[in-house]
């Protein structure tokens, strides 16, 4: 509860123009959001762009921010929406897939990257890229962010049962992919 109260007060200060408060929000959430974007997009460059845009947008529209909500879920939803928009851009999406197919080092750890991805996250990202988009999103938001099924259902405009199914099937396939990777 202390953390919760602290976060609400932090948001209140941020809404009132405190750069220190925003910096704390940024430090607290940046890694989780980057990880979410990486597993949703399978592309570190694109993930960095999305998270950068989310922070800029939140800072710019702070007056409209609601203090009563769950900031982590709000930021994650914003990342998921932007990731979806990003995927709709056919050119960038195909380009991203092409880079993966050719083993382009853009998804690997590079000094110029904002996000320095561990090998484990790299493997996870590659496996997640093979899931259908809705399953990938449901698994990432539920497992990675801790969002509830009803929250994800609202975001995906689907029923709770559908979201539960997406998570179940997504996890099953992820297990299969990671196991096959381990045996090869």
């Amino acid at each position: 509860m202390r953390v919760l109260v602290g976060e609400r007060y932090l948001i209140w200060r941020f809404k009132h123009g405190s750069a220190e408060a925003f910096e704390r929000i940024y430090e607290r959430h940046k890694n989780g959001l980057l990880k979410l974007a990486v597993v949703l997009l399978g592309d570190v460059h694109a993930a960095e762009d999305v998270v950068h845009d989310v922070f800029v947008h939140v800072a710019r529209t702070r007056a409209a921010l609601r203090v009563t909500g769950n900031l982590k879920a709000l930021l994650a939803t914003s990342v998921a929406n932007r990731a979806r928009n990003h995927r709709r851009d056919e050119y960038r999406y195909r380009n991203s897939l092409a880079r993966q197919a050719t083993g382009d080092p853009a998804t690997a750890c590079e000094p110029a990257h904002w996000a320095i991805v561990s090998e484990q996250l790299q493997s996870l990202s590659e496996a997640m890229a093979q899931l259908p988009a809705e399953q990938r999103e449901a698994v990432a938001l539920h497992l990675g962010v801790g969002m509830s099924f009803p929250e994800i259902a609202k975001l995906q405009n689907a029923s709770v049962n559908t979201v539960q199914g997406r998570c179940r099937y997504g996890l099953e396939k992820l297990r299969s992919l990671l196991n096959s990777e381990a045996t090869t």
Partner: protein
């Protein structure tokens, strides 16, 4: 083969780090986009500004109040504030600044290295002067309190051991003390206390509006709990805690004001020296907090009431201010003729203070100001022993009783 729970573990453990240089660049982009600046409020459009500060909608009280007003964890927080008059004294003897709790609070306060503020205490006791005390903490476990007329106490905590020095300029003497087995109480951490005070507007019963004080625009919030009233003033430009005023109508004339909060101002190690001034006479006190109990506190109350000419109990039981209280009461002939603060009496006072310092913040209350020894129905002190569901009350005849929380005095 990975099991389903191992897949979840694999997912959660797949992490990343960030490039610090690019971190700063991204943060700067966002700060620029939002017009956010450090340490002061950016100019805002009139409409938005009005919307953000409209009482009842965007004020901290309105925003946080409904969420936590009834949360049980907030009660100790307010109780801690009520007993803030002694927090400074308690902090002298507890492990603040060295433990894991401190580290967590530090992280939440932007890794501040130092903290200073001022405390003004009025006891409500006739001829007892108002005491202004400057308090300073440093992250190496040091704390220092100083009054304008030279009463200085410095303590350093290392693990659960505290050692320090108190200087009494009037008597030209000093006391070195060492206390072992002090419990680690998160609520006594000075940084945690400041965070608690910062969040206190969340419990506001009243929004007092905006006032200018010492050239600063402050937003005021009134919080009432039991018979204690706290008024919290937050700097309107940066949301920082600016001033806290505490009063108890049942103890007329007694009040505490905290102000001048500062983080990260440079404080040299020499400022926290445990060395006595030259020419001062040493006295020593040692105690094991684990061996001090209620009987020591009762003995302290009994002795004090015998020392005073009118048979009253001490005006306060705060460690940091007690030396000054004793000196002033002696100068005002409040003690019986021939009374002297000899080493035996010092040990009695010391035992009482060590007992108080071992109690978790918010689990005790002293109401013995202006009360004379003798009435078996007047409670002067009550506390909750650690791990006990009931409370102990000490009455003015120094008899004791166990009571349920709902039967405590108002």
């Amino acid at each position: 083969m990975k099991r389903p729970d191992e897949v979840k573990g694999f997912y959660r453990n797949a992490n990343l780090s960030t490039n610090p240089a690019l971190d700063r660049a991204v943060l700067t982009d966002a700060l620029d986009a939002g017009g956010l600046t450090y340490g002061r409020r950016p100019p805002a459009t009139k409409g938005k500004d009005k919307e953000q500060t409209r009482p009842g909608r965007e004020s901290p009280a309105a925003l946080f109040g409904r969420m936590i007003m009834n949360h049980r964890l907030m009660t100790p927080a307010v109780a801690a504030v009520i007993s803030l008059a002694v927090i400074v004294g308690l902090s002298l003897f507890t492990g603040n600044g060295a433990g894991k709790v401190y580290a967590r609070a530090m992280s939440e306060l932007h890794s501040a290295q130092t903290l200073t503020y001022s405390v003004i205490t009025r006891t409500g006791v006739e001829s007892m002067p108002t005491v202004r005390m400057d308090v300073a903490f440093k992250d190496t476990g040091f704390v220092r309190t100083a009054t304008a007329d030279g009463y200085i106490t410095v303590a350093q905590s290392i693990g659960n051991k505290v050692k320090g020095i108190s200087i009494v300029p009037v008597a030209k003497n000093y006391v070195t003390f060492e206390v072992e087995n002090m419990p680690d109480d998160p609520a006594k951490d000075p940084w945690a206390m400041i965070e608690m005070l910062r969040a206190l507007p969340a419990r506001a019963d009243r929004v007092l509006g905006r006032r200018e004080l010492d050239g600063r625009m402050l937003d005021g919030f009134g919080v009432r709990k039991g018979d204690a009233i706290a008024t919290v003033w937050i700097d309107a430009t940066n949301g920082q805690l600016a001033r806290v005023e505490l009063e108890c109508p049942s103890a007329p004339g007694m009040s505490v004001i905290l102000s001048d909060f500062q983080f990260d101002i440079p404080l040299e190690d020499a400022f926290f020296s445990l060395e006595p001034p030259k020419g001062y006479i040493p006295l020593e006190a040692q105690a094991d907090a684990a061996g001090v109990g209620e009987r020591d506190f009762v003995e302290f109350l009994r002795a004090w009431s015998l020392w005073t000419a009118d048979g009253t109990f001490p005006p306060l039981v705060a460690g940091a201010e007690i030396a000054k209280v004793i000196v002033h009461m002696a100068q005002e002939n409040k003690f019986k003729a021939g009374w002297d603060f000899d080493p035996g009496r010092q040990r009695v006072v010391y035992g009482g203070l060590v007992f108080i310092s071992g109690l978790p913040a918010g689990t005790w209350r002293y109401a013995g100001q202006n009360v004379r020894f003798g009435d078996p129905r007047t409670p002067v002190f009550w506390y909750q022993p650690q791990g006990s569901p009931s409370w102990r009350i000490i009455y003015a005849d120094l008899s004791t009783a166990d009571v349920a929380a709902e039967d405590l005095p108002n």
